[in-house]
Amino acid sequence: MFCLDIYLQESEDYEIHMTRAGFKDCARFIEDNAPEVVHVKPGEKIVGARIIGVPPVPIGINEEKGTIMIPYTKPCYGTATVEIPVPPEEREKIRAVKI
């Protein structure tokens, strides 16, 4: 199974669009820049990690690039917007939990 935390530790194939930001700004960035946006509940498991945020939490999907864009929050560092490549089945799983 795809695991976000391990992926971010072991891979360099991801893009950080914003860092040490507020959740609201990261959510707006995703809404404004992702070709497809799916909203999920906070706490929903996305690519193996619980998504942290204020509802509805936007997840960006880019089918052409095969990536997703998510808000990624750490207690001391605030929220970052991370874009990572994920397999098609993971993108389908995200669409299946949309609200």
Partner: protein, 169 residues
């Protein structure tokens, strides 16, 4: 036994650790089995403050706790909210647990404090108590005492109402 979880944020504010130990003491006194979920650095501060674990026996990592968290795991959520990330964590824990919750909102900057308070208010039905605090934990301690007292009274009333209904039927 009722279970409570205290959610600690980034330990940047000096008020957080003494208040966490104090809140654990109060909740234990109210009959809760208390767990404190925090970052490794916040955990170390609690460990040094309470070396013999008189007040905090269960310390858990916030990330692994969140991964395994399920609705109904705790009867009460108390969250320390002093940063934007802490708002996100509190709201997320609230939505997973769906239980009685209290957000303890504090910051030295009034505008930020009000923003955190409003975000929690708009996205949860949790009780909220707040104070401008950074070094001095007293304003928050006073508000926490009041909020817990109010909660205890309301719990007692609910229990009595339930008892009355059972006796009537």
């Amino acid at each position: 036994m009722k279970k409570a979880i205290i959610l600690l944020g980034c330990p940047e504010s000096p008020s957080q650790t003494p208040l966490a130990v104090y809140a654990a003491y109060k909740l234990t006194d109210m009959g809760y089995q208390v767990s404190v979920a925090s970052t490794p650095s916040a955990k170390k501060l609690v460990e040094v403050s309470d070396p013999e674990e008189h007040y905090v026996q269960n310390k858990i990592d916030i990330e692994s706790c969140l991964d395994e968290l399920n609705q109904g795991d705790y009867d009460f959520l108390l969250g320390f909210v002093a940063k934007d990330a802490a708002v996100s964590y509190f709201v997320t824990f609230y939505h997973i647990l769906q239980t009685k919750s209290l957000a303890l909102v504090f910051h030295r900057d009034r505008e930020k404090m009000e923003y955190f308070e409003n975000t929690v208010k708009e996205n949860t039905e949790a009780d909220i108590t707040s104070a401008r605090a950074y070094h001095n934990p007293t304003p928050l301690r006073v508000r926490l005492d009041r909020a817990l007292e109010k909660m205890e009274k309301s719990d007692k009333r609910n229990q009595e109402n339930k008892k009355d209904k059972t006796e009537d039927s």
